[in-house]
């Protein structure tokens, strides 16, 4: 069961890598968050803890529903170019992603203290998500991609937290959710301003401040 969900996470992450347009990127992120939600639900079911249910619920509400919707609406509002602006094309990105997958696995194996070799699979997936998140932020030009990248990385951390350390303390988890939500809103606010001032959201062109 977990494996299937993990598989879903991986697929959705790869989808993010090959996404060329903003909408597809947001959609991929939604899938990813949904898979994560399922995973959390299963853990909650296994451990029979109330707070984990709440966390899963929050995850669903915020990351699957609220944020993607907010971003969609936002995109419509600013009527920005759909193109994500790729520094390196999708094929190459995919190669990178494969490399990252391996890297994440190696890293997780070294890190995770367990006799059971497969225990590192979930953390590896989490690391992979973080890596891809950062990858997106570095190699995609628009501001939107950076937000999604950040969220993806954050998703990875969530996964990591809930597997390796049995989740964060409850109120910390809530606070982090709140934090993420607020930060996305604030970033959206700034994208809005960028679009207004520069008439594009291609942050690569923001290079007035240098040296």
């Amino acid at each position: 069961m977990q494996a299937i969900i993990l598989f879903g996470v991986l697929i959705s992450t790869y989808l993010m890598v090959i996404a060329k347009r903003s909408t597809s990127l947001i959609r991929a992120f939604r899938y990813q968050s949904f898979c994560l939600f399922l995973a959390t639900l299963i853990i909650a079911f296994n451990e029979k803890q109330l707070d984990l249910y709440i966390v899963a619920g929050l995850l669903f509400v915020i990351k699957v529903l609220a944020i993607p919707r907010y971003l969609y609406r936002f995109l419509n509002k600013i009527k920005a170019n759909e193109d994500l602006g790729l520094f390196i094309n999708t094929q190459l990105s995919l190669l990178f992603a494969l490399g990252f997958t391996y890297l994440a696995w190696v890293f997780a194996r070294r890190l995770i203290v367990s006799d059971y070799a497969l225990a590192a699979i979930v953390p590896a997936a989490a690391f992979f998500m973080v890596l891809i998140g950062i990858f997106l932020m570095i190699f995609r030009m628009t501001a939107l991609a950076q937000i999604i990248g950040l969220l993806a990385a954050e998703n990875g951390l969530f996964l990591l937290a809930s597997t390796v350390s049995g989740g964060m303390p409850f109120f910390v988890e809530i606070a982090i959710f709140f934090d993420v939500f607020v930060s996305v809103i604030i970033m959206g606010f700034f994208i809005y301003r960028i679009n207004k001032l520069f008439t594009h959201i291609d942050v690569n062109k923001l290079s007035r401040l240098r040296g």
Binding site: L111, M137, E154, L157, P169, D179, F190, L209
Partner: protein, 485 residues
């Protein structure tokens, strides 16, 4: 229960500022309240140094001497910034740069920002610490982009994104710490007090990797090179009182976080690992920033790079280790916070007269602003480590530590870079301060509140600089207290 007041006051003030009509009155109330906060912080510091560490609110808040020290540092700078804001905002409103409503927003954000910064050192839970630091980023991003110009929005975007990435890595590090703790088989917790107690039995390998994440993550926020790139942009574009807070306090809060994790590392892995990493990043910051300071053309960016340099020095101080390096670094945190704020305020005054950030456009500050000019001149020497100002003491302590440690390379580099930065400062500020006024610049009157702010900032660095020369023993005693945790 001073901490309640320290944390509560900004929150109340934030609401008050938002609803109050008379923004000038709001500013004055602000300043007065921050004076109260400063006094409370002083009391707190005294109590924490003299008596034991305290954990309260279900282990949620933890105060030892170190946190009290950071809170105190923050309170000094926030008080001065609150004072300075009165005149600054007033002027902006008068000149029509910002509306009265936005002035209210400014004060609210200011207070929220201060709240978040006071919160950081008070927290026990490492996860909440992370949340608090992220909160500082989010709030201050508005203050960076406050003027809503192309440059400021660009700066704000870079600030928020780069810091968020950093902070994501820090969260990863935090999770790994908690993983290390979880693996050790003790109860599930993210409280620093719990983890620090069992640090020696934690898995070294995980701790090491976790700390790298923490270092890079919070290091981004602290402005350690090469993750410093957001810093000059944000500092140069922020509202000037906020630049001072960013440089003086925010960077230090990130350092505080590193330090908290560092204690666990020192206990769990050994000092050398922590020291070497800090030294490495410190040296890189120092070298890179000194180059940038030399060829800088923008006044506020110049100061921002100097902040990177000083963070580098602090980091080197921590890297060199106890006791001298630590004392020096801690002292330097305070000194730099205060001195750099002074510089930012005077720079803001100059910029408001000349309407330009460009160093070449600013000439004859001494004539345009006699008081601020003198303060700037003193600030230059204070910042570059001349006695009788206190940075001299902290720098010399760090240099001594380097020599005692046998890190001659670091010591030499430190001396060279300090020399370069000093030369650059004299070069730039000599041109700005002296000489004749350019045409069309009318010497404007100086704000009374600003003058007060300068004096508030000048007093501690001068007093410390003079007193500390004679009182090293007490200093060591206090430092030992600071590291009881």
């Amino acid at each position: 229960m001073e901490i309640l007041f320290i944390l509560g006051a900004p929150l109340i003030l934030a609401i008050l500022a938002f609803v109050m009509k008379n923004k000038k009155a709001a500013g004055i109330i602000n300043a007065i309240s921050y004076f109260a906060v400063l006094s409370c912080a002083l009391l707190l510091l005294k109590r924490c140094v003299l008596s034991e560490c305290r954990v309260s609110f279900f282990g949620f808040i933890y105060l030892d001497a170190l946190s009290a020290f950071f809170i105190f540092t923050a309170s000094v700078v926030t008080f001065a910034a609150a004072l300075y804001s009165i005149g600054y905002v007033n002027k902006d409103v008068k000149e029509g740069v910002i509306s009265g409503r936005r002035a209210g927003i400014y004060y609210s954000l200011f207070n929220l920002f201060c709240f978040s910064m006071f919160l950081v050192p008070a927290l026990n839970n490492l996860g909440m610490l992370w949340v608090a630091i992220e909160m500082t980023t989010l709030i201050s991003a508005f203050l960076v982009g406050f003027y809503n110009t192309k440059k400021s929005v660009e700066a704000a975007w870079k600030y928020i994104i780069i810091c968020s990435v950093g902070i994501i890595l820090a969260l990863l590090g935090t999770i790994l710490f908690s993983y290390a703790f979880a693996v050790s088989g003790v109860a599930k917790s993210l409280n620093w007090t719990d983890i620090a107690q069992v640090a020696h039995i934690l898995d070294k390998n995980i701790l090491k990797i976790a700390f790298i994440f923490i270092l890079v993550g919070y290091g981004t926020k602290a402005g350690l090179a090469p993750m410093h790139t957001w810093l000059p942009d944000a500092h140069s574009q922020a509202v000037s009182p906020i630049s001072a807070l960013l440089s003086g306090v925010l960077l230090k809060m990130a350092l505080y976080a590193i330090l908290r994790f560092g204690f666990i590392i020192i206990k769990g892995v050994g000092f050398e690992y922590f020291g070497n990493l800090m030294l490495l990043l410190g040296v890189i910051s120092l070298v890179i920033s000194s180059g940038f300071v030399l060829v800088q053309k923008d006044l506020k960016r110049l100061l921002a790079y100097s902040s990177i340099e000083h963070v580098g020095i602090i980091s080197i101080g921590f890297g060199l280790g106890a006791p001298l390096g630590f004392i020096g670094a801690l002292l330097h945190i305070f000194n730099h916070a205060v001195t750099k704020s002074l510089m930012f305020f005077t720079a803001a005054d100059a910029i408001s007269v000349y309407k330009k950030h460009n160093i070449n456009a600013i000439r004859g500050v001494m004539k345009a602003l006699p008081f601020a000019g003198v303060m700037m001149l003193l600030g230059v020497f204070a910042l570059t480590g001349f006695p009788p100002f206190s940075i001299f003491i902290s720098e010399i302590l760090i240099i001594i530590a380097a020599f005692l440690n046998g890190s001659y390379f670091v010591a030499g580099l430190l001396l060279i870079c300090l020399g370069i930065v000093f030369g650059a400062f004299i070069y730039h500020f000599g041109k700005m301060l002296f000489g004749n006024l350019p045409k069309g610049i009318i010497p404007a009157g100086e704000q009374l509140s600003a003058k007060f702010a300068y004096l508030v900032l000048l007093f501690p660095i001068l007093a410390l600089g003079i007193v500390l020369v004679f009182k090293q023993k007490d200093l060591i005693w206090i430092a030992q207290k600071l590291f009881q945790g």
